[in-house]
């Protein structure tokens, strides 16, 4: 229980902050966000399987290999391309389900939905993978890693919005690859970068968070401006 609270407290905090900062005219579609949260939870299963395959069955085990090139490749493949894909795929499936059965997604709803997937993903990752760490470490991950996952998902949400607007699949790939690249750089710095860690980590945090906030700021609460209801 303590681990769950220590690992997941920040997800609720950040979700609340994002919610409060955007939904001023309309009622937030809580049910949809709950579905996104479930999607985030489910996405941890294939992501964990994918990571385990890379770590246990290939030479790209970035925690063990002494070959830096293989380690970097493993990081870009497993946490980078892998985790970002499973998070994005889970969110996309939720989006597709909504669009087939209900009204289209509002832009803010889409971005916050993706962010919810990332927040839940980061929290579950904290609870499952880092439960042996001490409380301080979990709190730190809650402050840095959990919102990082959310920011990556927000970048991917931007790709989906651009994809719809431009009627092209390229933005989906482009923003996904950008998120995977940033995630990879982040992990490289945190795993290997003893000398660059001091510079890259704070700079990376600021850059990624700023990007996410700019994305969040750019999406309107409602595309039509009318009051949306989810009841």
């Amino acid at each position: 229980m303590i681990v769950a609270v220590a690992g997941g407290w920040s997800a609720i905090l950040y979700f609340g902050l994002l919610l409060r900062s955007k939904y001023k005219l309309t009622i937030p579609p809580y049910r949809r966000f709950l579905v996104f949260a479930c999607a985030g939870f489910v996405s941890t299963i294939p992501a964990a399987t994918f990571n385990a395959a890379i770590l246990d069955r290939t030479a790209l085990n970035f925690f063990e290999t002494s070959d830096l090139r293989l380690g970097v490749l493993g990081i870009f493949l497993a946490p980078g391309l892998g985790e970002e894909f499973w998070k994005g795929a889970a969110a996309l499936v939720a989006v597709i389900c909504f669009n087939r059965r209900e009204r289209p997604l509002e832009p803010a709803e889409c971005v916050l939905g993706f962010a919810t997937v990332g927040l839940v993903f980061g929290s579950v990752e904290n609870i499952i993978s880092y439960d042996t760490g001490h409380g301080g470490y979990l709190l730190m991950r809650g402050l840095i890693a959990v919102p990082l996952h959310a920011c990556m998902c927000m970048i991917q949400a931007m790709g989906l919005l651009c994809c719809w607007r431009r009627r092209s699949i390229i933005p989906l790939f482009g923003f996904y690859l950008l998120a995977a690249f940033l995630h990879g750089l982040w992990d490289i710095a945190s795993i290997y970068g003893s000398s660059i860690r001091a510079y890259w980590l704070p700079a990376g945090v600021l850059t990624i968070y700023t990007t996410a906030l700019l994305i969040w700021r750019s999406v309107p609460e409602s595309a039509s401006g009318s009051e949306a209801t989810d009841s």
Binding site: F50, A53, I54, D56, R57, T58, A59, L60, N61, L70, L77, L81, G82, F85, A89, L92, V93, V95, I96, N99, R100, P104, L105, E106, P107, L160, L161, C163, W164, R165, R167, S168, I169, L172, F173, Y176, S218, V219, P220, A223, S224, G225
Partner: protein, 327 residues
């Protein structure tokens, strides 16, 4: 972003399918071409229950530990230890057949895989792939891999016997015996390789060196003895054969199970021709197990072609057979 564009479902679906397939294919390729290297300790220590391979099931003991583990004998110094067997007897406590603990573990892995290949029909290629994943820093790798390969060829010899295979065995065994890691067992194999390749003189030299270096008088020592006596017989030297047969029963405890080696001895005629001394050797071995009919025929064949010193002893053996021969 103010206007709500149409939210196509096809493109996200396409993205998920394409990217998902690409990732799965990538992981499969990486698993195939960049498999995870395993340390010798990982390889030999018992893995978690859900990952138990046939190899580890095979070697699991009742207390749940694996028999595939660091043996106390292998806990020697990491640095190189002189191969004393090539030049003489090993000092007490000195490693007998390996130069380091890593080499001992590496060989243990090889032997385990040999068992899998022999006993359970595992493909050799798969065993080699598995062994190739074990990282070793020692210079013994090439030597150990050739030993593994050569041992498997030896095991397959009864099924795949051909001049090409025999030549390969001879060549590989000679390569092994010239390596700095070589020890008495390699000399034994080199002797057998030379014998089967038709070079009895070299075989005698290798087998004599193996006998001199062999550290214990065990069953394998008896096999070296039989090999040496056979090499002398193939070379046509009667006196050493008679000498070797004097205490044959004591030195070679498996003399009773003649079916284990009689066929191999008979097949040497295809290489060495009539070889009368070889006939005499085969006759005496048959006589030991009271196969007097075979012994009689072989003695007569052997005595027709030799008139060396010691023939009297052979005639005496023949007389014993003639007394007891079946009607």
């Amino acid at each position: 972003m103010q206007d709500q564009p149409k939210q196509y479902a096809e493109m996200p679906v396409l993205f998920v399918l394409l990217m998902g397939s690409a990732l799965i294919v990538t992981v499969c390729l990486v698993m195939e071409f960049l498999p995870r290297p395993i340390s010798l300790e990982d390889f030999l220590d018992a893995p978690p229950p859900q990952k138990r391979s046939l190899l580890h099931r095979l070697f699991s003991t009742r207390d749940g530990k694996s028999a595939l583990r660091n043996q106390p004998d292998a806990q020697g110094p990491q640095e190189h230890v002189t191969q004393t067997q090539v030049v003489g007897a090993a000092a007490p406590g000195e490693l007998q057949t390996v130069s380091s603990r890593d080499q001992a573990l590496f060989r243990q892995a090889h032997m385990a895989h040999q068992l899998l290949v022999r006993g359970f029909g595992h493909p050799i290629a798969e065993a080699k792939r598995s062994l190739a994943r074990i990282p070793t820093a020692g210079s013994f790798r090439a030597y150990e891999e050739m030993r593994f390969h050569n041992d498997l060829v030896w095991m397959d010899l009864p099924f795949t016997e051909s001049p090409a295979i025999l030549a390969e065995l001879d060549k590989n065994s000679r390569w092994l015996v010239n390596r700095p890691e070589a020890f008495f067992e390699d000399q034994f194999h080199a002797g057998l390789g030379a014998l089967n390749a038709g070079n009895a003189t070299d075989a005698i030299a290798f087998l004599q060196a193996a006998m001199d270096a062999w550290p214990v008088a065990d069953r394998s020592y008896g096999s070296v003895h039989l090999g040496l006596v056979t090499a002398y017989a193939a070379d046509g030297q009667l006196q050493p054969v008679l000498l070797g047969l004097e205490d044959f029963k004591r030195v070679y405890p498996d003399w009773l199970y003649i079916e284990l080696f009689s066929q191999d001895l008979a097949e040497l005629h295809a290489i060495y021709g009539e070889a009368p001394v070889l006939c005499i050797l085969r006759a005496r071995l048959s006589q030991l197990v009271h196969d007097d009919k075979t012994a009689l025929a072989l003695y007569q064949r052997g005595l027709r072609g030799t008139s060396q010193d010691g023939v009297d002893v052979v005639r005496q053996w023949l007389a014993e057979v003639e007394v007891t021969k079946p009607r």
